[in-house]
């Protein structure tokens, strides 16, 4: 292994993200249009964390986002002509917030859209056809908070649902009754943080469950007896930093694992060493590194998964703790 693989290959990753839009002659590019809005957000946040926010054209990005507005529903779709969905709506709001362009959004309308998706149980549906998941609950809470509309949410009802998803192991599932999963732990913990209701969390037990996600390779898995995957670097670490338990795993070993999953030729980060890279694992790898204090990176806010400076400026910062930024 060359010594390069022990360092974050920032310029390669920046190029990789810049080139993502250049492959329109590939079938895969079009087959993944339903994830385009999310991908823009993932790419932009990764660039921000690597201090290359300007590597993608801001105006072009904002114009693209506005073409994804679904006038009928009052939310954003993943791509022009695609139906509004709560997930792409959050990504759009996050990108516009980072670019200080929320004035482009009809805030009362999009707030109505988000609130209309809350179910009597307190959980949120993803769209009008009603798939429910704590992911969508977090998305709603995050988006309403960024829009300054959290007062319009029935917070007790929302928290009641999260409580129902809590398991004996301290973790949370995607619906009431479901198995704990690190991704769902992140969304529930972060939603509770935004709602100032971390009292719902059994911190010693969840901290333990999260710490046990680290495997001998240094990588983290999402559930007991499963394989490690770079994306859990963020789901697990963000939850740990919200609970102030980041010191409960070996961050040096995790750093090595994430770095070993980089593609040293084409840039980008994969789920595991030697696999194909994608922008999803690239952002969550880089975000994980930022939380462990990797030198030269910008701070990421683990609650909103956005640049910490943006959240701080809006006065929304919660009491999470990352590891101190190391100097190279």
């Amino acid at each position: 292994m060359s010594s390069d693989e022990h360092k974050l290959l920032t310029s390669l990753h920046v190029q990789y993200i810049q080139n993502l839009g250049a492959s329109k002659a590939d079938l895969t590019y079009h087959l993944t249009a339903h994830l385009r809005m999310n991908a823009i957000y993932w790419g932009l946040v990764a660039l921000c964390v690597m201090n290359h926010k300007d590597a993608l054209d801001k105006d072009e990005m904002i114009e693209y986002i506005m073409t994804c507005w679904d006038e009928e529903a009052g939310g954003f779709g993943a791509h022009p002509g695609h139906d509004a969905h709560i997930h792409s709506t959050l990504s759009a709001i996050q990108v516009l917030t980072i670019h200080d362009a929320l004035d482009r959004v009809d805030i009362p309308r999009v707030t109505d859209y988000i609130l209309s998706l809350q179910q009597p149980s307190g959980v949120f549906a993803g769209d009008s056809f009603g798939e429910v998941d704590t992911r969508f609950l977090y998305i709603a809470v995050n988006a309403l908070s960024l829009l300054g509309q959290l007062d319009r949410l029935d917070k007790d009802k929302t928290v009641t649902y999260i409580r129902q998803c809590k398991n004996f192991d301290g973790g949370f599932g995607n619906v009431a009754g479901a198995e704990s999963h690190a991704g769902q732990v992140f969304v529930c913990t972060a939603a509770l943080a935004i709602l100032d209701r971390l009292d719902v969390v059994d911190i010693p037990t969840l901290g333990w469950w999260l710490a046990e996600r680290q495997l001998p390779s240094g990588g983290l898995n999402g559930r007991p007896e499963k394989l490690e995957d770079v994306c859990y670097s963020f789901w697990v670490l963000s939850s740990m930093s919200i609970l102030n338990k980041l010191t409960w795993i070996d961050s040096e070993k995790l750093t090595k694992f994430i770095l070993s999953a980089q593609d040293p030729e084409g840039g980008g980060i994969a789920d595991r060493p030697g696999d194909m890279v994608d922008v999803f694992h690239t952002i969550f790898g880089v975000a994980g590194l930022s939380l462990t204090g990797y030198p030269g990176l910008d701070d990421i806010d683990p609650v909103y998964c956005m640049p910490a400076s943006v959240i701080e400026k809006k006065g929304l910062r919660k009491g999470w703790k990352a590891l101190p930024r190391r100097t190279a």
Binding site: A25, R36, T67, E225, D250
Partner: protein, 362 residues
């Protein structure tokens, strides 16, 4: 041309934006420029066909066309791309607005059965695509009453029974697929005729016996047992005894398996039963004597000894609290050594043990 239709055409002419392949476990291979070009050429006709079809479908959607033609086009498009959620929505809207109003109940049942079959095939290739599972839910929830004069629920029963069969086959292929487990819980709670929960308990036993590491099955067991105990269908005390036997067997089979220890911790719960805790401490100690570097034995002993200290301090023999405290501290020091990745946690726990039992300061 309506605005929405021209919007649909933007699909093929977007500005710079990232794409994502959402790769999980796909090995990286370095293609040569020639190989990449050749692949592009091969894909070219598929790409053109895909874009034309997707433009066509989105244009019809924008025009609120609810025809059978449009329905068939969504079938084609979804077989090329099962993640195109907008097209699933459109498909359902065509059924609701265009096709169901002029169909008899039997025809509706046939259409929904066909959609269930179509997504069964797709699920085999894409077992983790949320949209496929969602579409099945919608189909099942819209099966009309009918099927048999004597039994108006006949179609519903048949479809839901088949669904349980499908989800079982999915769990045979990947016993940890959490989409499938969630879906299973959903099916069990939605079936027109509920299955007895004891049957589900037997299912988790079967899954656990074929693989002790299947935490998804252990998790399901915690939910089923809680419900059986709460409803009084199963006697809690005797069932707990059986569960401890089952988990002990698993513990001895593979003491490094996390799933088993998590389940054990659930059985102990908040630790009201002093006798039980003491008995389990003894069992685990025996295992630790056999496997002196077993992290999970040590971790569990610390937890259970702390439960004794926390919940039962008044009924401990004299000097026992001090001795338990010292044992915990000793185990935590050992854990720091054998499990250095989580060293800080063990140190924090040791600090808590010291704080919560000030009596030991001699």
């Amino acid at each position: 041309m309506p605005v929405a239709q021209s919007r649909a055409h933007l699909l093929s002419q977007q500005p710079q934006c990232p794409k994502i392949d959402y790769m999980h476990g796909v090995k990286r291979s370095r293609e040569s420029r020639e190989a990449r070009e050749a692949k592009k050429q091969r894909e070219k006709s598929r790409l053109t066909a895909y874009l034309a079809l997707s433009d066509d479908v989105l244009a019809r959607k924008a025009n609120r066309e609810w025809s059978k033609d449009a329905f068939d086009l969504t079938s084609r498009l979804l077989s090329m791309n099962p993640e195109f959620y907008t097209v699933w929505n459109y498909r359902r809207n065509i059924l609701i607005n265009g096709i169901f109003p002029s169909s008899s109940p039997i025809e509706i049942n046939d259409i929904l059965s066909d959609d269930l079959s179509m997504t069964t095939t797709a699920l085999k290739a894409h077992p983790k695509v949320y949209w496929l599972w969602n579409h099945r839910r919608w189909c099942l929830e819209n099966v009309p009453d009918g099927g048999d004069d004597a039994d108006p629920l006949a179609w519903k029963k048949r479809n839901w029974e088949r669904e349980l069969y499908v989800v079982e086959r999915m769990l045979d292929v990947d016993s940890r697929n959490f989409h499938a487990w969630n879906y299973r819980r959903y099916v069990l709670s939605s079936m027109p005729v509920k299955r007895p929960e004891a049957t589900e308990l037997a299912y988790t036993t079967k899954k656990i016996e074929s693989n002790f590491s299947n935490f998804s099955a252990w998790h399901q067991r915690t939910k089923v047992l809680t419900s059986l105990w709460d409803s009084g269908k199963v006697d809690r005390t005797s069932s707990l005894r059986q569960e401890f036997d089952l988990v002990q067997n698993a513990m001895y089979t593979d003491p490094n398996d996390q799933s088993v220890w998590l389940y054990h911790r659930w059985l102990i719960g908040s630790g009201e039963d002093k006798q039980r805790i003491e008995h389990e401490i003894q069992v685990i100690q025996e295992l630790l004597d056999e496997q002196p570097d077993s992290k999970w034995c040590m971790e569990s002993l610390v937890h259970y000894k702390q439960l004794l200290l926390r919940n039962h301090s008044s009924s401990l023999a004299s000097g026992q609290a001090d001795s338990l405290t010292q044992q915990c501290l000793y185990l935590l020091t050992q854990l720091e050594e054998i499990d250095p990745a989580r060293r800080q946690r063990y140190q924090d726990l040791a600090a808590d043990v010291n704080i919560s039992t000030p009596a030991q300061t001699v």
